[in-house]
């Protein structure tokens, strides 16, 4: 049977990275996650990585595969070409063990943008749901597909040089709510986005969009957010306080 070499960047007892290679059976349909599970079940049960849904929904199996952030469960080994694949933990995150990284920092940034609908009349009880036209729905739906996998945070070079930068997914989340006509939290959101760690740090590299498995296009959202902020600031000049 043909074999594939999987070179994994693991952590030693001191927490330092070390490379270890494993041979797994090669076929046309297996994913990188399945290759890792084969290693765990048949070669080394101590190999650590995170996964759950196996269908690109939970967002937990993000890792760097052949030098680029990917979801292990939706990347087939066949698509990577060659007889050797390199698997490493995502960059810009603390490694807990082997391929499992600490995503707390990312989630904290995500929570900071209040990723839920904010209403001025939040104590009012509605008789029915807030209706939207298809056009209003289309404005934000693509940005709501984010599965919080954090691949974009690992791909962004600005995130790699400044850990305080909010990053692509949280900023895309801000745009998702700003673009939603039911939301009334624009003032709060645009203040975060226009802060020192907001959109001004983005250099429109576009790697976040390149790696996003769900087609969220964070780099586009960030530029749209910039436009909204300019409009908002301009209007606030004429607004009575």
């Amino acid at each position: 049977m043909e074999e594939l070499v999987v070179e994994v960047t693991r952590t030693d007892e001191k927490g330092n990275p070390k490379l270890q290679s494993f041979n797994v059976p090669k076929d046309k349909v297996s994913t990188v996650l399945e290759a890792l599970l084969y290693i765990k079940e048949n070669i080394d049960p101590s190999l650590s990585f995170r996964y759950s849904c196996r269908m690109e929904i939970c967002g937990s199996c993000g890792m760097e595969i052949d030098g680029k952030p990917h979801m292990a469960c939706s990347t087939t080994t066949e698509s990577l070409k060659g007889d050797k694949i390199k698997v490493a933990p995502l960059k810009h995150y603390n490694v807990i063990r082997d391929l499992a990284v600490d995503i707390d920092g990312f989630f904290d940034k995500y929570k900071a943008v209040k990723p839920y609908i904010i209403r001025d009349d939040e104590n009012v009880k509605y008789e029915s749901e807030l209706l939207q036209t298809p056009a209003q729905f289309d404005e934000f739906i693509d940005y709501s597909l984010c599965i919080k996998c954090g691949l974009c945070m690992a791909a962004c070079p600005i995130e790699g040089s400044d850990s305080d930068y909010l990053g692509p997914a949280p900023l895309a989340a801000i745009w998702r709510y700003v673009a939603d006509n039911r939301d009334q939290g624009a003032k709060y959101r645009l203040e975060i986005a226009s802060g020192p760690e907001g959109t001004s740090r983005c250099h429109f590299v576009g790697e976040c969009t390149e790696v996003c498995p769900k087609g969220v296009d964070p780099s586009y959202a960030i530029q749209k957010l910039r436009g909204s902020m300019v409009k908002y600031e301009f209007q606030s000049l004429f607004r009575r306080h």
Binding site: G15, N94, I96, F204, V205, G206, G227
Partner: protein, 137 residues
């Protein structure tokens, strides 16, 4: 273990040059930073040379002739490279400014190629006229 790994998190400027499996946007970004640094360096160099005028004409002339002396002016090569980075930086900067205003957002990669091709044509025209000017003087 987590604390020990914090030091490895930041990639620093060396991260800019890791182009492997990255898109054209990454190349544009890295080159923009590099060309920006070259331009800032040149600005200081330029001010340093000009500051010799404060001392006097002789001081300035001796500095300028000392670096441009010889049958082949090697500084001319650096001048051409400087023009290259300025044209590159200007074209990419214009594209980014338009993108940030919401213009051509979904066509940003095509815009990069178009703007850079135009910039390189303008660079060629500039160098041609600069060469003619030098030949005439």
């Amino acid at each position: 273990m987590v604390e020990e790994n914090v030091k490895n998190l930041r990639e620093g400027p060396m991260g800019w040059v890791k182009f492997y499996r990255k898109g054209i946007g990454y190349f544009a970004f890295a080159m923009h930073r590099f060309s920006g640094l070259v331009i800032v360096f040149y600005l200081y160099l330029h001010l340093f040379v000009l500051s010799h005028l404060l001392v006097g004409k002789a001081s300035y002339n001796s500095l300028v002739t000392s670096v441009t002396y010889g049958p082949f002016d090697s500084f001319l090569v650096l001048d051409v490279l400087l023009a290259l980075v300025i044209f590159y930086h200007g074209a990419n900067g214009t594209r980014l400014a338009l993108n940030e205003l919401g213009i051509g957002l979904h066509k940003n990669k095509v815009m990069f190629y178009v703007f850079e091709v135009i910039a390189m044509i303008l660079l060629g025209i500039f160098l041609y006229y600069a060469y003619m000017f030098l030949g005439a003087s």
